[in-house]
């Protein structure tokens, strides 16, 4: 899941739903929506990804403070 976020960095801001759909596409029905929810929580809690916001929330790689504004 982290790979997908890393791949699309700078290209497209992914939403939680996008990640869930991508996971289902890759692994089929063996991953449930609940699994994906837990996996996203793990990515965020570990600090490997962060939530971003521009008119809608997305899951992104961490950036330096305020960089988005410069």
């Amino acid at each position: 899941m982290y790979e997908i976020v890393a791949e699309s960095a700078g290209k497209k801001k992914l939403k939680a739903g996008d990640l869930t759909r991508a996971m289902t596409a890759k692994y089929g029905d063996s991953v449930s929506r609940k699994d994906c929810k837990a996996a996203i929580k793990q990515l965020i809690d570990s600090g490997r990804c962060v939530y971003g916001y521009y008119g809608g929330s997305s899951i992104e790689l961490p950036r330096t403070e305020g960089a988005a504004n410069e």
Binding site: K11, K12, K13, Q42, D45, S46, G47, Y54, G55, G56, A68, N69
Partner: protein, 358 residues
């Protein structure tokens, strides 16, 4: 995973029960009726007794000092119990009727008006404006202060035909109930976003930015090999949606930003159905610190309503009874092409009957 000790998350708010006045607990779900003792003072009665509510204004943008002043009053008069209303009023909850007048005296000494009940102008629901918001076309706190300085008398009395709900939002995002208020002041931009072609390619996602426009006015383009966007200025209605998703398209324009005035919305289902506010005045200038044009426009509308509406008739119900042409007539507001809708549901606002008054 993070391994910090004792870091709590997802606990939610404290349970409300610990903040309920003992009489609220005793009469919970078993209240019989309520009365208004005078403007700003309510009495709710149930089998366990009567609870008195004293309602006063607040600036909403309040310092910790102000809140501590209020909690000190609560400690003195209402056993430490107080609450806030959905319109930013403060309510002290009193078991002892004898405490009502001393509390009101203290509030008045602090220049805090008591009122906002029933057929009054209640406190204003408003947004952040220049105090905290990046997309605001005007200030909110200052506008509210300037308007309410002129309407305080309608807050501390109940002399209007019905309640009048005033709201202020500083841009079309309307982070307040502007679209369903008796009178609303809405900050407006009047010029298209200015595109920063230097930063846009790095800051913004092009497809998202293009898709953000409700009128399809934004198209991708290439400048010096970098992908950016252009705006079809004839299609732009200055909603600011693109700026929300793309910071490189600011709309703020000191020369042209200002406010519009809206009337006749309502939320409650009493008598007639909930309704949207409708445009009264398309543009008035931003004129800080006291916005005299906006203030006198709002005051005029409320005074004409007060003079002409029947008892318990809300602003929108009054206008529907007399008809919109008469509203423009009585208020002296000019009707213009800007009052004609041209967005998604425009046709629903055109008159398709001969029910005109001559």
């Amino acid at each position: 995973m993070a391994t910090e000790v004792e870091r709590k998350t997802d606990i939610g708010p404290p349970h409300y029960e610990q903040f309920l006045h003992p009489l609220m607990k005793a009469n919970y779900g078993n209240w019989k009726y309520h009365e208004t003792l005078k403007p700003g003072v309510l009495a709710h009665t149930g089998e366990a007794g009567t609870l008195y509510t004293v309602r006063c204004a607040s600036p909403r943008l309040a310092s910790t000092n102000f809140i501590r002043q209020m909690t000190a009053l609560a400690d003195k008069y209402s056993d430490g119990y107080l609450r806030f209303t959905s319109r930013n009023n403060i309510e002290f909850l009193l078991a002892d009727k004898e405490n009502i007048d001393p509390l009101i005296d203290e509030l008045n000494q602090m220049n805090i008006p008591v009122g906002g009940t029933n057929n009054a102008v209640s406190n204003v629901v408003h947004t952040q404006g220049w105090v905290h918001c990046h997309s605001s076309a005007t200030d909110a706190s200052g506008l509210v202060k300037a308007v309410m300085d002129e309407l305080t008398d309608y807050f501390t009395s109940e002399k209007l035909p019905a309640r009048v709900r005033v709201a202020v939002a500083c841009c079309l995002n309307m982070c307040g109930a502007v679209h369903a208020s008796d009178v609303a002041i809405l900050g407006v931009h009047r010029t298209p976003p200015r595109i920063d072609n230097e930063t846009l390619p790095n800051l913004c996602e092009i497809p998202t930015t293009v898709a953000s426009c409700p009128n399809n006015a934004i198209k991708p383009t290439s400048i010096e090999g970098k992908t950016t966007v252009t705006v079809d200025e004839d299609k732009c209605m200055y909603c600011g949606n693109c700026y929300t998703v793309c910071p490189a398209m600011p709309l703020a324009d000191p020369l042209n930003d200002g406010v519009s005035i809206w009337v006749g919305g309502k939320i409650s289902n009493a008598r007639s159905e909930p309704k949207f506010t409708k445009l009264a005045i398309p543009y008035l200038p931003n004129n800080p610190p006291r916005w005299p044009e906006a203030v006198s426009a709002v005051k005029n509308i409320i005074e004409v309503y007060a003079e002409n509406a029947k008892p318990f008739e809300r602003m929108g119900e009054w206008i529907e009874r007399i008809g919109w042409p008469k509203f423009f007539d009585l208020t002296g507001i000019e009707f213009s092409k800007y009052h004609l809708d041209d967005f998604r549901y425009a046709g629903t606002t055109y008159r398709r009957s001969l029910h005109n008054r001559y």
